[in-house]
């Protein structure tokens, strides 16, 4: 039994103090996910907080079948959608992060390479971009990505293939 499973079992048994460790475990990656989707960093922090509170609130509806990560990402995705509805969706995270001075420090070529790739990802159609972000930005498996997006596995696979193909095409043009 993994640490995550033990913590989930504890929470199910009524020991809600185990939630602290579970939150600390997932906080950085959920924050990274929300940063891609929230209009700014403070709203991303709010979205992470809301995600964990909702997860706790609806925990009794969750049946553990090894898909806690998908459950959490699904809540995070919905929270970010609500936030975008409320505050608009400039979707600046991907593009602005590339222009952040912090990234100009190591070497211009490296930063340029990162910037190009981020801009190309940002320019992908929304249904492909989300899959690329979940798969490569959040290290979710294809099955987990399919669960989060409520899509068939084959659809996720084909959209990911199309996204990678168009990224390669774009990079060829960039060159």
């Amino acid at each position: 039994m993994t640490r995550e499973e033990k913590l989930i079992q504890k929470i199910k048994q009524g020991d809600l103090s185990a939630a602290d460790e579970l939150i600390a475990m997932y906080y950085p990656e959920i924050l990274r996910y929300c940063l891609w989707h929230a209009p700014d960093s403070s709203l991303a922090e709010d979205a992470v907080q809301e995600t964990f509170l909702k997860a706790l609130r609806y925990f009794d509806r969750y049946t553990h079948r090894g898909k806690f990560k998908s459950f959490l990402y699904r809540i995070a995705a919905n929270t970010c959608i609500d936030m975008q509805r409320k505050y608009g969706r400039p979707d600046i995270s991907l593009e602005e992060s590339a222009a952040d001075p912090y990234y100009f420090e190591p070497a211009f070529e490296a930063v340029r390479s990162d910037m190009v790739l981020r801009q190309l990802v940002a320019g992908l159609p929304e249904n492909q971009r989300e899959i690329v972000l979940l798969r490569f930005g959040q290290d979710l498996t294809l099955r987990e990505t399919a669960d989060v997006l409520k899509l068939p596995l084959r659809t996720v696979q084909s959209r990911l293939r199309s996204a990678l193909k168009s990224l390669k095409e774009e990079l060829r043009h960039e060159k």
Binding site: L16, D20, L35, Q49, S113, D114, E174
Partner: protein, 268 residues
């Protein structure tokens, strides 16, 4: 994972592109702050305390709690109606010896059976409780489902009582009497469920009452067009109609629960 960013010309290989995407997208434009994590844990602790003080009940228990609140009132009304309808059937058994007349009476009684539930379905609007119900732990849809189950239980007993009286006091065969009672009931039920899912609540009572009265008119006035509906030799047609209406009712119920904006419509 590679630490060095790839040059653009090496990005054509798919594996390299995947590694590069992973490396680039893992870079956060923002440092995760520990104070915010601590604040989240603190808030989660408070939420957990709130949750522990809140009593959680299953839908079955919720339904059981609804019976003393709404069930007995409805079942009381339906009991009185059953007694009155049984008396009518007993007293008029001689006059109703003609099958078409008996069929018309059973059709009308069956529609009235459904109409006994209409005030209960309109109760939330009448008492202006929609906003409280919408904000409660159990959604408006689950509350509606509980009401429909209570109504359904009452209606089954009521139709069963009418069937028993009709077969005991008249010469009508049981299989024909069942269809005579089910067909108009399902017709009224289908129409009203459709209105429940599609109409704003303010218009539901007026719409469904009008629909039921239209059915009563159709069944009670001896029109040439409706004569086929009551003719004993068209039993197969009535059975097919009953099956179709049952499917229609199930679809409407599914629509209300899964798709319709019933919950939102309640607070318009």
């Amino acid at each position: 994972m590679k630490n060095e960013p790839l040059k653009n010309n090496s990005l054509y290989k798919e594996t390299d592109l995947k590694q590069e995407l992973s490396r680039t997208l893992h870079q956060l434009p923002y440092e995760a702050g520990d104070p915010h994590l601590q604040a989240t844990i603190l808030l989660a602790g408070k939420e957990a305390c709130r949750m522990q003080t809140r009593e959680r009940i299953s839908f079955a228990r919720f339904l059981k709690k609804q019976i003393p609140l709404i069930g007995w009132k409805l079942w009381g009304i339906q009991g009185v109606f059953l007694a009155a309808a049984s008396r009518v059937l007993s007293d008029c058994s001689g006059y109703l010896i003609s099958p078409p007349r008996l069929a018309r009476l059973l059709f009308c009684l069956s529609v009235v059976v459904f109409m006994t539930a209409l005030p209960l379905l309109y109760r939330s609007i009448r008492c202006q409780m929609q906003e409280i119900e919408a904000a409660s732990r159990f959604s408006s849809v689950k509350l509606l489902l509980a009401k429909l189950i209570v109504i359904g239980i009452g209606d089954i007993f009521l139709l069963g009582g009418l069937l028993f009286t009709a077969t005991a006091k008249t010469a009508l065969p049981a299989d024909i009497a069942v269809i005579y009672l089910c067909l108009p009931f399902l017709l009224a039920c289908g129409g009203c469920l459709f209105m429940l899912g599609h109409f704003p609540p303010g218009r539901f009572l007026a719409g469904s009452t009008l629909f039921c009265f239209a059915l009563l008119f159709l069944f009670s006035v001896p029109l040439r067009q409706s004569a086929l509906l009551f003719h004993p030799s068209y039993q197969e047609g009535r059975i097919i109609l009953c099956v179709w209406l049952s499917v229609f009712c199930a679809c409407q119920l599914r629509y209300i629960i899964k798709t319709s904006s019933y919950g939102e419509l309640q607070i318009i």
